[in-house]
């Protein structure tokens, strides 16, 4: 199954705004994506509760996986999102 491993760049980690932006992006893809911290248990990435309960802080190494058509592109886009400091970026609707 295709995977991407990336370091969480957001200052507050996968919490608050960054978690929200990430989960929203996953939900928009429509592909089942999972996320895990290190060798931990993968959880559905479209669940805010699941993502929050990872407790992935700034600098944590997380791995995304997905299956099916278009999985590679989806993972690239999401990995790119996590490698940016989402706390620093303005809200897109602002």
């Amino acid at each position: 199954m295709p995977e991407r491993t990336v370091i969480v760049a957001s200052r507050s980690g996968l919490h608050a705004r960054p978690a929200k932006i990430f989960v929203q992006a996953v939900a928009r893809q429509g592909t089942a994506v999972r996320i895990r911290v290190g060798d931990g248990r993968p959880v559905p990435a479209n669940s805010m509760l699941a993502v929050l309960s990872l407790g992935a802080g700034h600098g944590a190494e997380v791995t995304l996986d997905a299956d099916g058509p278009g999985a590679e592109e989806v993972l690239d886009a999401l990995a790119d999102l996590l490698s940016r400091d989402l706390d620093a970026e303005e809200a897109s609707d602002a």
């Binding site: 919490h15 608050a16 989960v23 559905p44 669940s47 509760l49 699941a50």
Partner: protein, 554 residues
Amino acid sequence: MPEAAPDVLRGLGISPGRAAGRVHRMAGPPLLPAPVPVADTAAETARAVHGLESAARELTARAEGATDATAREILEAQAMIAADPMLRESVEQRVAAGSDAAHAIDAACAEQREALLAVGGYIAERASDLDDIKNRAVAAVLGLPMPGLPSPGHPYILAAGDLAPADTVALDPGVVLALVTEKGGPTSHTAILARALGIPAVVACPGILSVADGTWAVVDGGAGEVRTGIDERTAAEVERAARADRDRLATATGPGRTADGHPVKLLLNIGSVADVPEGSPGEGVGLFRSEFLFLDRRTAPTHEEQTGAYEAVLRAFPDATVVVRTLDAGTDKPLPFLGLPEEPNPALGVRGLRVSRRSPEVLDAQLDALAEAARASGTSPWVMAPMVTTTGEAADFARRARARGIAHVGAMVEVPAAALHADRLLEQLDFLSIGTNDLSQYTFASDRQHGELADLLDPWQPALLQLIERCAEAGRAAGKPVGVCGEAAADPLLATVLVGLGVTSLSMSARSVAAVRDALARHSLDQCREHARLALAAADPGGARDAVREAASG
């Protein structure tokens, strides 16, 4: 058809001022009924999912209406949690296992809540979101109104059973024109909050929850009246007049004095230097609560920490009076590091100065730090102990403070025994400060938080005023200051009574100063004495208020 509410509802006016607008009610959290057996699992699942979706929709709508960016982000995240697929799955599984919709939501939210708490740190702070989501979803399932602050999209008068601290953190004084609660008393959380925000409020107002949402009303937070049956035009006129009043008060400055120039110090009640507003309206600090240094701690604050905090406040008022109250904690306000055992009756137990019987080192450390802060800032702070009951306790406290070079030593008068012996206390001390909230509680044997006994806790109770008079007379005889630092001091009309009784200073939250200054400036000392005479002679608080209001407007 429901019976129409009467045109005038009466309660206890606890934060003065008038406001007009539409009434919107706040519902409390829904109570979970007994579990019911589920016959049709598919229909019950649909009900549960609908509950979650309603919660998500409501939160999304609130997010869209939020003016503050941070508040909007938080609400959006909450809406996402309400719509979370994992939460939904957990609810569906519980219904499939035989649970009804409300209990399935309750249990699923509780489980997720625990999961977030287990992560700890920032994430644990989101745990309370799940309580909020649960309350909303369960309310939707049960067909009850959505709990929490209403968001009608325009400024409104908030009506509620009572307000808890959690309800009010999000309260925006730009949107909430006035507060009216069915329960609560003059010292309830609602009252303190309303005065801190400077918005009119009426508590203990039966019938307010029968007023339909959207009804136009005028609230008079001084008279304790809510008038409905008015139209939008009348409301607009009242609002215009109220705004003019507020503007007039805001521009008044200067020391407190009566119309004929009798000085009355107007001081601030603060918890830390952060409570002192820019261009402070007061003439110093009448009550610096030192508790904040000690809250949520397993160990006592260090000498340096304490010294720094006191110095910050002393330096903010270099030429003014600053009265520091020593730690007011005990079994009623437990602090972990004190290690006090639970007591069956904490209000009557080891609290305030009494903690010093078990742990004298806590008070000594505090006095050491205050003395050092005084030296470092070149000021001469006043210090007082809470819950002083006997002359012996006063003498002991004075000895310990003076041994460290603190020149002005006093006591809070909160216990009737202390008020009765005010003259003897002043043989040992330099000043007294009357804490009317606790003095009411102990004089009228009524718990401060007890909504049903609000009338007994009314600061206009003639017996309470008589105790205050006794203290003020003792002060006059000894030539020593006697102030009031309870919430009573923030009521402009009652302030005239207190001055008439002989009180020399009034201490209150910063927002209340302007209205009290204005009330004093409009009455001579003789008029204040007449107000005091009328209030003391009245049969009950309502009679006292009416008599003084009539005299003041005449």
